[in-house]
């Protein structure tokens, strides 16, 4: 049954991509959905994570600096650390100002990271990127379907872990403060909540998840290049969050899978429909389609497929203490 194997192989490939997107979308959801912070540089934070982990874990090479041969797990932690640090810097600069500044600054940092990835050849390998990124567990499982499925399990596990942790966070008092600040900063401030600090924490945690998502992607493909982290990536993630429903972690995950299916499906259809010589144009049209999808969603169903859940303290139902 070669067909079934082919499907299984393609399916696991597809799902690993979708779950690394879902991890990033969860990070974006914390920033935007729960805190109202607009990050236009998602691709930059993802790229930072992917490159950090790749450079730390690859075997030594003459092509570029790096290649420290670290264990993959450490690389992933470092990826979260570096992306989080970038989030801290950007947040410290822009989060005190009106919201447009955060959008513009994050856009700027993504452009700059893209520039460095492309040009600092000694560090990043330039346009050729980083190759031979180690695939964890490959020593036992080989390169075949077994490894794909194992990696899929691992990335789903990480996704589940991120989901549970975030659910815990946003339902905690901390999460309620975030939403309070998002809805009415003055009211939250009058209760003694320092909006800037809460925003910064949320922004940094979100950035860390983006870095992790990038690293999960990098170690699955085994090869990264600057063109993997173009602004279109930022846009896909926004599409995922908006379609799924921002302010809802399950929505973010659902959106990641739905939009990824839509994206891959539209790409396959267009490739079949447009002659081979015009493939670059087909890719352009694919982006236009997803642009139209997001615009339609914003106009017709702004709350997304799932929409925000009302989360209240788990103590609300309890009997009031005797006065």
């Amino acid at each position: 049954m070669p067909d079934l194997l082919g499907w299984l192989s393609y399916g696991s490939f597809f799902l690993v991509f979708a779950s690394s997107f879902a991890i990033i979308a969860l990070g974006l959801n914390l920033q935007w959905g729960f805190t109202g912070l607009f990050n236009v540089g998602v691709a930059g934070f993802v790229a930072l994570g992917a490159y950090t982990s790749a450079l730390l874990t690859t075997p030594e090479t003459a092509d570029h600096i790096g290649g420290f041969g670290w264990p993959v797990a450490l690389g992933w932690l470092a990826a979260m650390g570096v992306s989080g640090l970038a989030g801290l810097l950007v947040g410290a600069l822009a989060l005190r100002l009106r919201h447009d500044y955060l959008a513009i600054t994050t856009f700027g940092i993504a452009v700059t990271i893209q520039l460095v990835a492309n040009n600092a050849t000694r560090l990043t390998g330039g346009p050729f990127g980083v190759q031979f990124i180690p695939k964890p567990m490959q020593a036992w499982l080989g390169t075949g379907l077994a490894w794909n499925l194992a990696y899929l399990t691992l990335s789903l596990l990480l996704l589940g872990l991120a989901y549970l942790a975030l659910e815990k966070l946003v339902r905690s008092p901390w999460g309620r403060v975030l939403r309070a600040i998002r809805e009415d900063e003055d009211a939250a401030a009058s209760l003694g909540k320092r909006a800037f600090l809460f925003r910064l924490q949320s922004f940094v945690i979100g950035s860390m998840l983006m870095g992790l998502g990038g690293a999960v992607y990098a170690h699955f493909v085994g090869y990264i290049a600057p063109e993997d982290f173009l602004p279109i990536l930022t846009f896909q993630l926004w599409a995922m969050l908006i379609v799924g429903g921002s302010g809802n972690n399950r929505g973010a995950i659902l959106g990641a899978f739905v939009v990824w299916i839509f994206w891959a499906g539209a790409g396959a259809l267009l490739r079949g429909w447009i002659p081979a010589a015009e493939q670059a144009r087909a890719a352009a049209l694919q982006v236009v389609l997803i642009g139209v999808l997001i615009a339609l969603m914003l106009v017709l169903r702004p709350r997304g497929l799932l929409g925000e859940e009302i989360a209240v303290s788990r103590h609300v139902g309890d009997k009031a203490p005797p006065v």
Partner: protein, 305 residues
Amino acid sequence: MLQIVADGLIIGSVIALGAIGLSLTLSIVRFSNFSHGELLGWGGYFALSALALFGAASEGMGTPIGPFSFGWVMLGALLVACVLTAVLALALDHVLFRRLRRQGAITLVIASFGAALALRNLLLFWYGGVPQYYSQNLQISIPLVSRDVLGGLRITPDQLFVLALCLVAVTALHLFLRHSTLGRSMRASAINPNLARVAGIDPERVLRATWIIGGVLAAVAGVFSGITVQLRPTMGVDLLLPLFAAVILGGIGSVWGAVLGGFIVGLAESASVSIVGAEYRAAAAFVVLILILLVRPTGLFGEKH
């Protein structure tokens, strides 16, 4: 040294013209329009198509006027580009932004980010990714200052034309905003939209005027960029960061601030080319942006928020 300044001023005039429109949208329509860069790109390509249409009747860019590489046909194409880009800006507002205005500024920013990607990829779809030029003729630059004085200065007539027309456009806009009724209504709406409405100013009319002015200036900037550099489908997004840096540097809503900011970012870019090399040029705008956020986030001429 002189050459760096001259190059910076020419890049700067493109940035300045784009930044004015972006600044007006930010202060009057009240959101960061990430699709503004695409208006520059579309303006540039509209002129290319108009040129091709006219070119069927005449030769290329027409007989050159004086020392310039282009003829009257090019000016006609510029005019067509201005009209079409203004229409495009209005259409975008009508189809997308107007429907989302009630949902708040951030929804508009997301929508503009999506619109930018769609617009850019439509350009890529229609015109292809290969850079294009209005004219295949190479223009010889004239030495203005000899090489002994501060490294000398060479400039093409086209570049001088771009610089001069930029200053004319900015002055005209300044007079319009200062002295015409519509211009005053625009400034009033920027400062206090509710008060402006109470005073009988039609907000829709002000918004329309803002989009038209932004579109026209973007088209001029796009065509200038096409004349002095080249036309690429990605020119809009490449210019977006310099535009934002110029707007914030100058202070949101200030026309002269945007112009000054544009020239400063342009100078920073041309200086960075000679200091760290052309490949990091785009980062110059980011450095300017970070510096201004650190030192004076309201910009040079901005008001406190």
